[in-house]
């Protein structure tokens, strides 16, 4: 990926090497292709043979019991796991728009700018709200004040935070409530205009009103972005995702249209999880 990624005109919806027990979803255009992915922290293997095609300009939800590897997989998508010493992909590949992101000449920095992330635990910088949102832009070398101002406002509005903070843009992001901090992180991720947004339980600390706002936001964003969201909230997955992947013990059990998964899952485990009989 030394050259810039170019949007392919069409991507064939074929899913390579899909094991039979995992039903495939009908996908018009795969943005991210995950192929036979094995992943391990040291000797502890966390992901086993994950095959998944994530569609472009749609919301894909990852669900599954705690510790099943959702965060791990999500962090593979922007190579955040590079930061962990022992972590490595032992087999398989991930392609975004056809380019293997783990290939040797890939520019990780560029990848991460294009694949934004909102973390499970909100992590605003100890800077002002304004600086938090502007951080990514400044990093990218944008210095024009008016551009930054505009982008900050736009991102904060997108994250449904603008009204609450517009009078105190220059106080520390730490002074916000937990839910506001999480939305600040969303705004921060949006400010650099990624193509893909990865959200790791973005609503886990939010009240129902804020959650509704974020969900509304997600629905809007999918017009333009490819979104992957991890959630423990079944209703949320049902409400705002187009596709849902169910993971269990590091394996992808089922992946399909959300409506299908929630109404008529193909796998017994999926059904049991969704109906709350385990997990």
């Amino acid at each position: 990926m030394v050259a810039t990624l170019e949007m392919p005109e069409t991507t064939s919806p074929t899913i390579v090497n899909q094991p039979e027990q995992v039903p495939k979803a009908e996908i018009e255009r795969a943005m991210i292709e995950i192929e036979q992915l094995d992943f391990a922290y040291g000797a502890h293997q966390v992901l086993h043979g994950v095959n998944l095609n994530i569609p472009a300009r749609a919301v894909t939800a990852f669900i599954g019991p705690s510790g099943c590897g959702k965060t791990t997989l999500l962090r593979c998508l922007n190579r955040m796991n590079d930061l962990i010493d022992s972590a490595r992909i032992t087999q398989g590949a991930i392609r975004i728009e056809g380019v293997d992101i783990n290939a040797p000449g890939v520019d990780v920095v560029d990848l991460r700018r294009r694949v934004g992330m909102v973390f499970q635990k909100s992590n605003p910088f100890p800077k002002s709200i304004y600086d938090n949102v502007a951080y990514g832009l400044r990093i990218a070398g944008i210095t024009k004040r008016s551009l930054i101002d505009e982008a900050v406002e736009k991102s904060l509005r997108s994250a449904a935070l603008w009204e609450e903070v517009k009078d105190r843009l220059h106080v520390s992001g730490y002074g916000l409530s937990g839910g506001q901090q999480q939305r600040l992180c969303i705004a921060r991720a949006l400010a650099v205009e990624p193509e893909i947004v990865l959200m790791d339980e973005p609503c886990s600390a939010l009240d129902p009103i804020a959650t509704a706002k974020v969900e509304e936001l997600i629905r809007q964003l999918k017009e333009q972005y490819t979104i992957v969201i991890v959630t423990h909230n079944m209703q949320q997955a049902g409400r705002c995702s187009d596709h849902t992947a169910f993971f269990y013990l590091g394996r992808l059990i089922e992946f399909d249209q959300t409506a299908k998964i929630f109404s008529n899952p193909a796998q017994r485990q999926t059904e049991e999880y969704i109906t709350g009989r385990f997990g």
Binding site: N78, M80, L83, D85, V109, D110, R112, R113, R114, G116, M117, F119, K121, N123, P124, F125, P126, Y135, G136, I139, A140, Y174, C185, R188, A189, V192
Partner: protein, 341 residues
């Protein structure tokens, strides 16, 4: 039941006795320290302070050390510094007096203060530069490998090397091998390398205290590694690094052995800035407070006139070093109480 009650009363008594012994030991240490501070403080303040305004013995702080001349004249005991003695002689031409001279016991310690300040500034700049860089590498870039283990072992062991061995090393490498002679720059390197392990350890600790989330958040926004470190890690670690480095200043300022044969002169007439050309500044030896204290307390014959300068220098030195250490400890306690993450 009764037996147990009886036994527990006895054990409670031994418990109390032993606790008192432990308390006594602790307070004994504190008492010793207090006694040292008081002794040097009281006797030293006789030199450093005066009973008349401005209450501070300015000549002691602003003059170079001089030889003291003691003689009887006109039934009076005269104690004059070198300069005063020469003036007195020219004023009393023809008068022949038999004066005993006591080295270093008149004048002040100004060049020593300046020299120590110069040594501290240079060596701390050096140690902070190398130390923070190493710490950044160790905490941000390195992965656990054989080389990194080696580096860590080296740091740990370097921390235990006696300061006199650093002195020998500085003498062998900088003074002789590099031919820098006894000079400020040789002292900087010797002292700087001596505190390096402490600075690295403290800096790494501060860097590691910055939550991982900040790094990840920054990287996820497309910042490069160095951008992340510069904008989102270092600024938050720097206060901690500097706070714990202040203790390093106290150590650098307080050491005598490493500068004895690398940087310190017992006596030098010019001030450090009185050099012929700019580069000479780095290649000149300086007077230093700790070395001066060593010289006046062991290299000159002791008599009633030497105490003034001994206690005076010890007081000023102790006061400065303790002030630095106190700053560090207070800053650290304060930062501990307002942990931000």
């Amino acid at each position: 039941m009764i037996a147990i009650a009886f036994k527990s009363r006895r054990t409670r008594r031994t418990e109390r006795v032993i606790f008192w012994l432990l308390r006594l030991a602790t307070y004994f240490i504190l008492a010793c320290a207090t006694y040292i501070f008081l002794d040097i403080g009281i006797k030293g303040s006789r030199t450093v302070f005066t009973s008349t305004p401005p209450f501070i013995n300015l000549p002691f702080l602003t003059e170079p050390p001089q030889t003291l001349y003691v003689f009887d004249y006109d039934g009076k005991k005269m104690t004059l510094s070198d300069r005063q003695f020469r003036e007195w002689k020219s004023a009393h031409a023809g008068v022949d007096v038999e004066a005993t001279s006591v080295a270093y016991s008149a004048g002040g310690i100004w060049p020593c203060i300046v020299g120590t300040a110069l040594l501290v500034i240079g060596s701390m700049a050096l140690a902070l530069g190398i130390g923070i860089s190493s710490a950044i590498y160790l905490s941000e870039y390195s992965r656990n490998g054989r080389w990194i283990r080696l580096v860590r072992i080296a740091i740990l062991n370097l921390a235990g090397v006696p300061s006199i061995v650093f002195g020998l090393f500085g003498f062998g490498l900088f003074v002789i091998f590099f031919g820098w002679n006894v000079s400020l720059i040789a002292g900087w390197f010797t002292l700087g390398l001596m505190v390096l392990p402490a600075i690295i350890t403290a800096s790494e600790e501060s860097l590691r205290a910055v939550p991982q989330g900040l790094r990840e958040g920054s990287l996820a926004l497309g910042a490069s590694k160095w951008q992340t470190i510069r904008k989102n890690v270092l600024p938050y670690a720097l206060p901690g690094i500097l706070t714990s480095s202040i203790l390093g200043i106290a150590r650098v300022a307080g050491e005598t052995a490493p500068i004895m044969f690398t940087a310190a002169y017992a006596m030098k007439d010019e001030m450090p800035w009185q050099v012929a050309k700019f580069t000479d500044f780095f290649f000149q030896g300086v007077m230093a407070l700790p070395y001066h204290i060593y010289v006046v307390s062991s290299k000159i014959p002791q008599n009633e006139y030497t105490e003034r300068v001994q206690y005076g220098s010890a007081f000023v030195f102790l006061f400065l070093v303790m002030l630095i250490a106190l700053t560090s400890i207070v800053l650290r306690e304060r930062s501990r109480s307002r942990l931000s993450w």
